[in-house]
């Protein structure tokens, strides 16, 4: 079902480094978050919200690196906020991926077992009725035919 191993690693990384300004933690979290976004996207999930949050985390790290603080107070604060966002993306991404998988499976089931047969059946009935009507019309025309002598 969910990738609990991945989530556990992310959680442990977050807890173990809480309060630190380790740049590697950001990269690890970003890497996991990005992989989760790609995973969810490949299953057809709408990842726009995840991407928006990812960019927010990038913006926080940018503020930390350039020491230009707009939405956070200090390097540590920016880093922690960014990592929290990335961990949330990883978690939400897994949920989205599973939801997208289920929706895709349902969509495939409905398409193959309902839409396709119903379309084929309806078209067949209509086609058959048209065929019958055409045949009846042809027979009627044949029966109403008159033999006429061609005058020279």
């Amino acid at each position: 079902m969910y990738d609990f191993g991945l989530l556990a690693i992310t959680g442990l990384l977050f807890i173990a480094n809480n309060g630190s300004t380790d740049n590697n933690l950001f990269h690890t979290s970003a890497d996991l978050a990005l992989k989760t976004i790609h995973g969810a996207e490949s299953e057809g999930a709408d990842v726009s919200e995840l991407v928006k949050n990812f960019n927010e985390a990038l913006n926080l790290i940018d503020q930390a690196e350039k020491s230009k603080f707009d939405t956070c107070r200090s390097y540590e604060d920016c880093s922690q906020q960014a990592i929290t966002i990335l961990v949330t993306i990883t978690n939400d991404g897994h949920v989205l991926k599973e939801q997208a998988k289920e929706i895709y499976a349902l969509h495939r089931f409905v398409s193959f077992s309902i839409y396709a047969p119903v379309t084929a059946f309806t078209t067949s009935v209509i086609g058959h009725l048209f065929l019958r009507a055409w045949k009846a019309n042809q027979a009627k025309r044949f029966l109403q035919m008159e033999i006429k002598e061609k005058l020279k």
């Binding site: 990005l34 990842v47 396709a116 047969p117 086609g127």
Partner: protein, 208 residues
């Protein structure tokens, strides 16, 4: 009456033949429609002028700028790689003799970037970011003009050492780098499925 008519239809061989054929066709169409189509994957990067057009790059009607002039450019990145991409736009200030990216070998300029913007771009969408910059400090060494300091988007970049004869033919090189999750680092080139590709721009200017 209608039910009887329908029963007759359903029992007929012609109906069965039509139904089986149409079912096969509609299942095939459903299958083909549900499979992802192979696409050419690519990025594109463009540098736009003041009005988000490929014009008005310079304050005057020529490529000459002066110390303190404000240049308002925009960098636009389009992602058609089939998934959201984490990209870095790297800005490099070069003179005419420094190496630029190689389109054949797909290698970036060997010079260090002076500024970098990172962003994640959704598939089939464009990200545009402003690039407001000005030269704020220069030195003259004989016939050479040396750019010492720039300001880009409000960030002062000092300790530069890019020199050019008479201040001619400086260039701003803008490279697009893509984050490769396999290697965990940014890469200048990417594979489209057929070949390696890269994207970069350069805009020349003279400094007075």
């Amino acid at each position: 009456m209608i039910l009887l008519h329908l029963k007759n239809i359903l029992a007929s061989r012609a109906f069965l033949a039509i139904f089986v054929s149409l079912l096969a066709i509609s299942l095939s169409i459903t299958y083909v429609a549900s499979e992802p189509r192979p696409e050419m994957h690519f990025f594109s990067i463009s540098t736009l002028g003041k009005n988000m057009m490929t014009e008005n790059y310079y304050p005057r009607n020529n490529a000459t700028i002066y110390v303190g002039d404000n240049l308002n450019w925009h960098i636009s990145v389009y992602n058609n790689m089939g998934e959201a991409e984490y990209v870095a736009v790297r800005i490099k200030l070069l003179n005419t003799t420094q190496s630029i990216p190689d389109d054949i070998l797909q290698i970036p300029s060997s010079e260090q970037h002076i500024l970098e913007f990172k962003h994640t771009v959704m598939n089939d969408s464009t990200w545009t970011t402003p690039l407001r910059w000005s030269v704020i400090d220069t030195e003259e060494h004989g016939d050479y003009v040396v750019i010492r300091s720039l300001e880009i988007n409000g960030i002062k970049i000092d300790n530069l050492d890019v020199r050019s004869l008479d201040g001619q033919d400086f260039r701003m090189v803008i490279e697009l780098w893509r984050y490769d999750p396999e290697t965990g680092s940014f890469a200048f080139a990417w594979n489209t499925g057929l070949e390696d590709r890269s994207a970069w721009n350069q805009i020349w200017f003279d400094l007075r």
